[in-house]
C-alpha cells in the first residue's frame, strides 16, 4: 500500500523539478549570454560584425584582434597600472585589516567601541556622494594622478577588519598567553600565531579586495587626469570612443582581457567567497 502510494508522487516531484531546471537553465543562459557574445565578437573580423547576415560563431577566427588591442593607444599601460594598483592595494589593505582586526578582537583599550564605530561607519557613507570633497582632499595632499592617490584612500579596510575580527574572536586566548609566557613579543605573536591561523580568512579578504581594486571605475575616474595613470576599467570606458569608429571587435577583446582574471579568481575561490559574502551582508 505504502509503495504504490509513493511511486506516483516521486514522478510528480521529478516533473516539477524538471520544470524548475528548465526555468533556471533558461535564465542561466541569459546571464551567461553577454559573456559568450563578448568573447565571440572579440574573435570576429569587422566585416562579420557589420553584415546583416550575422552568424553566431566567427566564420574566420581573428586572434590578431587581441594583439592589435594591446598595441592600441595606452592599453598596455592600463594593464600595467591595474596590476600595480591591485597588487599594492591588496597588500596594503590586508595588512591594515590584519593589524586592526587583532586590536579589536584581542585587546581591551580606551574608546574601543568608538574606534570600531568610526571605522565601520565608513561603510555607511557611499563613497560616490563624496566625489568632489574627496577629490579636493586628495588634491591638497598632492596625490592627484598618482599611484598613492589611486591606492591609499581606498585601503581603509573597514569590511576586512570586520571580517577578520569575527574570525580572530574564535581563536582561543590561551595560544597567545602561552607564547607570551615563553617570551614572544607582540610581533612574534602576531606573525607566528595569528598570521598562520587566519591565513584562509586573509585569502578570502584578499580576493574581495582584489576584485574591488581591479574593477573600480569611479575612483580612478575622479582621481586621474592623465592617460598614463588610467587603470584598465577606466581605460576601457575611455576606449569606448573607439565605438564611434565601429571597432566593436577590439572593444570586446579589451573587455575580455579585463574580465578574465577576475572570473578565474572567482571560480577558484567561489565557495569561501559566497559563504563570507552571505555572512557579512546578513550580520552587517
Amino acid at each position: 500500500m505504502k509503495n504504490t502510494d509513493r511511486k506516483p508522487r516521486r514522478i510528480k516531484i521529478s516533473l516539477e523539478e524538471s520544470a524548475l531546471y528548465f526555468f533556471l537553465a533558461f535564465f542561466a543562459l541569459i546571464v551567461i549570454f553577454p559573456y559568450i557574445w563578448m568573447v565571440l565578437t572579440s574573435f570576429k573580423p569587422a566585416s562579420e560584425i557589420f553584415t546583416p547576415q550575422m552568424k553566431f560563431l566567427p566564420q574566420e577566427w581573428h586572434f590578431e584582434n587581441y594583439s592589435e588591442v594591446l598595441r592600441t593607444g595606452s592599453f598596455y599601460r592600463y594593464i600595467v597600472n591595474s596590476i600595480i594598483v591591485t597588487t599594492l592595494g591588496v597588500l596594503l589593505e590586508i595588512s591594515i585589516a590584519f593589524f586592526g582586526a587583532y586590536a579589536f578582537a584581542k585587546l581591551d583599550f580606551y574608546l574601543k567601541d568608538f574606534a570600531f564605530f568610526l571605522i565601520l561607519g565608513t561603510l555607511m557613507i557611499p563613497p560616490q556622494v563624496l566625489m568632489l570633497p574627496a577629490y579636493l582632499t586628495v588634491s591638497r595632499i598632492g596625490w592627484l594622478d598618482s599611484y598613492a592617490g589611486l591606492i591609499i584612500p581606498r585601503a581603509g579596510a573597514a569590511f576586512g577588519i570586520f571580517l577578520l575580527r569575527q574570525f580572530m574572536l574564535t581563536i582561543p586566548d590561551e595560544l597567545e598567553d602561552a607564547a607570551r609566557v615563553d617570551g614572544a613579543g607582540l610581533f612574534q605573536r602576531l606573525f607566528r600565531i595569528y598570521l598562520p591561523l587566519s591565513f584562509p580568512s586573509l585569502v578570502t579578504m584578499g580576493i574581495f579586495s582584489m576584485i574591488g581594486f581591479w574593477n573600480d571605475y569611479y575612483w580612478p575616474l575622479v582621481i586621474t587626469s592623465s592617460n598614463e595613470m588610467r587603470t584598465l576599467a577606466l581605460g576601457i570606458g575611455h576606449f569606448k570612443s573607439l565605438e564611434g569608429m565601429g571597432k566593436w571587435e577590439l572593444l570586446m577583446a579589451a573587455a575580455t582581457i579585463a574580465t578574465a582574471p577576475m572570473i578565474i579568481a572567482y571560480f577558484v575561490t567561489r565557495k569561501t567567497l559566497i559563504e563570507n559574502l552571505t555572512a557579512g551582508a546578513i550580520k552587517g
Binding site: 555607511m124 557613507i125 557611499p126 560616490q128
Partner: protein, 308 residues
C-alpha cells in the same frame, strides 16, 4: 584587602593604558584613512555647500543657503534627475526582488546543480561596471547588436525596432534591466540564505495539516522571509541611488537628459560645470536620502528578531 584591590586595579589600568598605545598604533592606518578620506570630506562637503566657488579661483564666496535654493527651484535639473533615479529604482527593485524570489525558491527545491546555478548567477557581480557597460552597449546597439539581429530574424522591420539606449523613454528601463542582470546573483544569494533559515518543522507541521504548496508559500515562506525581503529591497533602493558608472560610460545622461541620474548630475556639476556649491548641496541631499533608507533598513532588520 583594600590595598591589594587598589594595586590590582592600578595594575589593570596600567595594562589597559599599554594596550591602548599598542591598539592605536595597530589601528593607526585604518583610523587615519577613515578620518582623512571619509570623515574630513564628509564635513568638507557641508562647508562647500554654502559656498559659491568654481574650484579654480582662490575666491570662495559664502552664499548661505543659495545653493539649496537653486537646487530646489522649480526649473532645476535636480528634480528631473531625482525623478529619473526613482524611475530607475522602481524598475530595478521590483524586477530584482521578484526574480530573486523566483530564483531562490527554484534553487531551494532542486537537488542537483544548486551550487552550479548559484555560482553562475553570481559571475556578473565580479565583473567591472566598465566591462558590463561596454558589453551591454553592444547588446543594445540598434544597428549591430544581437537583440536587433534576433528581432530582424523574427521578421520585424528595421524601422520599427526599439532603439533602447537611444530612445528617451527606453533608456532608463534598459539601464535598469542591465542593473538587475548584474545584481541578480547577490540578491538570490541573500534570499537563499533567508530560505535556509526557515525551520523545516513549520513545513512538516503544515503538511500534516494538509496545506497545499501554495498555502505553504503564502502562510509560511513569505511571512518568515519578509525581513530578508525588506532588507534586500532597501539594499536595492540604496543601490539605485548609487548608479553612476553605467551612465558615465553608456549614455552620459543622454538622450535628451533622460538618463541624467542623481550621481551623474552631481558629477557633471562638479567636474564639468565647476559648480562646487551646487554639486555639494546635491551631494548632501543624496546622502541624507541614502542615510534615511539605511536607518529604516536597520529598524526593519531589528524587527526580524521577532519573527525568528
Amino acid at each position: 584587602m583594600i590595598d591589594t584591590e587598589n594595586r590590582e586595579s592600578s595594575f589593570e589600568r596600567a595594562k589597559k593604558i599599554k594596550n591602548t598605545t599598542i591598539a592605536y598604533l595597530l589601528l593607526g592606518p585604518a583610523l587615519i584613512i577613515s578620518l582623512v578620506f571619509t570623515y574630513y570630506p564628509a564635513l568638507y562637503v557641508i562647508r562647500l555647500s554654502f559656498l559659491d566657488w568654481d574650484l579654480i579661483s582662490p575666491e570662495q564666496v559664502f552664499v548661505g543657503l543659495d545653493n539649496f535654493q537653486r537646487l530646489f527651484s522649480t526649473d532645476s535639473e535636480f528634480w528631473t534627475s531625482l525623478l529619473r533615479t526613482l524611475e530607475y529604482g522602481a524598475i530595478y527593485i521590483t524586477l530584482s526582488v521578484v526574480l530573486g524570489l523566483c530564483f531562490s525558491l527554484a534553487l531551494n527545491r532542486i537537488k542537483y546543480f544548486q551550487g552550479f546555478f548559484q555560482s553562475l548567477f553570481f559571475i556578473p557581480s565580479v565583473t567591472s561596471i566598465a566591462v558590463v557597460s561596454i558589453v551591454w552597449s553592444l547588446i543594445y546597439n540598434p544597428q549591430v547588436g544581437p537583440i536587433t539581429h534576433f528581432l530582424l530574424k523574427l521578421g520585424l522591420e528595421r524601422g520599427s525596432l526599439p532603439q533602447w539606449l537611444n530612445d528617451p523613454d527606453l533608456a532608463i528601463p534598459s539601464l535598469a534591466i542591465m542593473g538587475v542582470w548584474q545584481s541578480m546573483g547577490f540578491v538570490t544569494l541573500l534570499l537563499i540564505a533567508g530560505l535556509k533559515n526557515i525551520p523545516q518543522i513549520y513545513y512538516d507541521a503544515a503538511r500534516v495539516d494538509g496545506a497545499s504548496n501554495r498555502h505553504q508559500f503564502w502562510h509560511i515562506t513569505l511571512p518568515l522571509l519578509s525581513p530578508i525581503l525588506f532588507f534586500v529591497a532597501f539594499m536595492q533602493l540604496i543601490n539605485s541611488f548609487r548608479v553612476f558608472g553605467a551612465v558615465a560610460i553608456m549614455t552620459k545622461g543622454r538622450p535628451l537628459g533622460s538618463t541624467n541620474v542623481l550621481l551623474f548630475y552631481i558629477y557633471e556639476n562638479a567636474f564639468k560645470f565647476f559648480d562646487a556649491g551646487l554639486a555639494s548641496a546635491a551631494s548632501l541631499i543624496v546622502f541624507a536620502i541614502i542615510l534615511c533608507f539605511a536607518l529604516l533598513q536597520n529598524k526593519l532588520g531589528e524587527r526580524s528578531v521577532f519573527y525568528q
